[in-house]
């Protein structure tokens, strides 16, 4: 492998993971914006995304179809899992997250951690053989029979990974447009800055909180689906680490800042990817190194890359 292709591979791997981390981190930032709460159950929402999409793949019989039907069903699976998990996110917001967000920080911390554990354990107990690692099928190979992957400048690109990248980039762009260009996006930003003033303009704050949790949870679900596709396996406790990584990415970017969360997600993933490639036995340490970078950020730039002052958000 030439050094450019090594470099490309690092970037590519980083981007794969970066997309997933970003999609999780965005939720942390959105929720913090409108509710001033850090929702530690968010990683388990990501896990639900993986399990719901796997279930939908089985239920729809996706793998037994081909051609246009296959493409249609695949899109349906992705969108449906986002909608279902988005709805669950709103449900959990209403019964746990919003009620505790008014109380002391410590209480919301414990409550959302508890909620996360409850979701995790529910999957372990009630999903068929839920404590085992589940195989998550490769999906795009079916459309290109006989060829597992494509080669580009000496690096191997799986079709599924290209799907992750393409969908991820499209979704991130759509999200940015939504937040920046639509009335709902404007309203979300206004509520994040001054919820009471927004209500004085006639904004129903509770509705905006619901919308925010729907979007954040749906994006985490998409990340869960991507994660399944990336590793070809999912497990009930996959959300624990993902939640911490997503939260860290949001912090690096400046909690509450959506673009910061996206940048933070990519940065975290690139550090991991670089350490795995450049440091001897780096893949064992890559997460440790990434968290060391997070800690450095907390020490030297506590408001994050794009954060200005601590109290300003979105």
């Amino acid at each position: 492998m030439s050094s450019t292709s090594i470099f490309l591979q690092i970037i590519f791997n980083g981007a794969m993971l970066g997309i997933q981390y970003s999609l999780i981190a965005v939720g942390f930032s959105l929720f913090f914006g409108v509710l001033d709460v850090i929702n530690f159950a968010h990683g388990d929402i990501f896990m639900l995304g993986a399990f719901v999409s796997l279930t939908l793949i089985n239920v729809t019989g996706l793998l037994n179809t081909s051609g246009a039907t296959y493409v249609f069903l695949l899109i349906l699976v992705i969108i449906l899992s986002m909608i279902i998990v988005g709805g669950l996110g709103v449900f959990f917001e209403r019964i746990v997250v919003k009620p505790v967000s008014k109380g002391p920080t410590l209480m919301s911390l414990v409550a959302t951690l508890g909620l996360g554990i409850a979701i995790r354990e529910a999957v372990r107990l009630f999903y068929p053989r839920g404590s085992e690692t589940k195989r998550f099928p490769e999906l795009l190979v079916k459309l290109f029979p006989g060829k597992e992957a494509i080669e580009f400048k000496g690096i191997i690109l799986r079709y599924d990974n290209l799907l992750i990248l393409a969908v991820g980039i499209i979704v991130v762009i759509l999200l940015a447009l939504y937040i920046n260009k639509t009335k709902m996006g404007l309203t979300i930003r206004a509520v994040a800055q001054d919820a009471e003033a927004a209500s004085m303009m006639g904004v129903n704050k509770n509705l905006i909180i619901d919308v925010t949790f729907f979007i954040g949870s749906a994006l985490a679900a998409l990340a869960g689906f991507m994660n399944g596709l990336y590793y070809n396996s999912i497990i009930f406790d996959m959300g624990a680490m993902a939640g911490i990584v997503g939260f860290s990415a949001a912090v690096i970017g400046g909690l509450g800042n959506i673009y910061g969360a996206i940048v933070g997600g990519f940065l975290f993933a690139m550090v991991e990817s670089l350490s795995a490639a450049l440091i001897p036995r780096g893949s064992e340490f890559m997460t440790v190194i990434a968290f060391a970078v997070v800690i450095l950020f907390l020490v030297f730039r506590p408001s994050g890359i794009l954060g200005e002052r601590a109290y300003e958000r979105v």
């Binding site: 930003r189 206004a190 009471e196 003033a197 209500s199 006639g202 904004v203 300003e312």
Partner: protein, 237 residues
């Protein structure tokens, strides 16, 4: 005369401390009514009571005959109220234009939003027009006050509430603000509830006024009547 807003024997509390005590006011349709009083008298608390932002323990509040005491803020607003709240409650990280658009949150039609910008905001506040894409938090204090008023003008209200609109403005702009409020009331027929420290300015443009002290209404009447009141003369003139 048809009434727009009526408070009857309203008492509010902050924690265990009573703030407003047995306050009754009435704002008739088409009128410009002022609420006077010194710092800490409870003027903003009265506005908060209307908006459902403070705990009302006794009394009733009616808007166009509807009991609104248990309404949440956005529901009160959607009945047809728009407010320029006290302090710098503009959205600091939104642009000037985005702030103005938030003021028109309940206005559904795009054309109407454009029309209100052109007819109600830009003529009065050309400075805002020059700075539409500036981040609102970077406006000067006076410009932020203008934006606060301009944003309220963007709604489509039956009743407009201004909580110390002249605060932080240069004398000439105070005069201009008074003109704008008068115009809104006299020409557009919008009912106005005006909270002011600046009694001279307020009494000049209002039909009726209330004087609040330590949470109680201690005087009310037409501007002429109020100017004669000993207690107000002492406080202001």
């Amino acid at each position: 005369m048809a009434e727009m807003l009526r408070m009857e024997h309203v008492t509010t509390v902050y924690g265990i401390n009573k703030m407003l005590i047995d306050v009754s006011i009435k704002v008739d349709k088409g009128k410009c009514v002022s609420l006077l009083g010194s710092n800490g008298a409870g003027k903003s608390t009265l506005i908060k009571a209307i908006l459902g932002l403070v705990k009302v323990v006794e009394g009733k509040i009616y808007f166009e005959g509807k009991d609104i005491i248990h309404y949440s803020t956005h529901r009160v607003i959607s009945l047809g109220i728009s407010i320029a709240p006290e302090g710098k409650r503009i959205f600091p990280k939104l642009t000037v234009l985005e702030n103005l658009r938030m003021g028109a949150y309940l206005v559904k039609e795009k054309k109407e939003i454009e029309r209100r910008l052109e007819e109600l905001v830009f003529p009065y506040f050309p400075r805002l027009k020059e700075r539409l894409n500036q981040i609102a938090g970077t406006l000067s204090g006076g410009e932020q006050s203008m934006l606060n008023i301009g944003r309220a003008l963007m709604g489509n209200p039956k009743l407009m509430i201004f909580d110390e609109p002249s605060f932080g403005l240069a004398p000439i702009l105070i005069q201009e603000t008074a003109e704008i409020i008068k115009k809104i009331n006299r020409e557009k027929g919008i009912t106005v509830l005006l909270v002011e420290q600046n009694a001279n300015m307020a009494l000049e443009i209002t039909h009726y006024g209330y004087f609040l002290q330590k949470g109680q209404i201690i005087a009310e009447g037409t501007p002429e009547e109020l100017k004669k009141e000993e207690i107000i003369r002492k406080a202001y003139f």
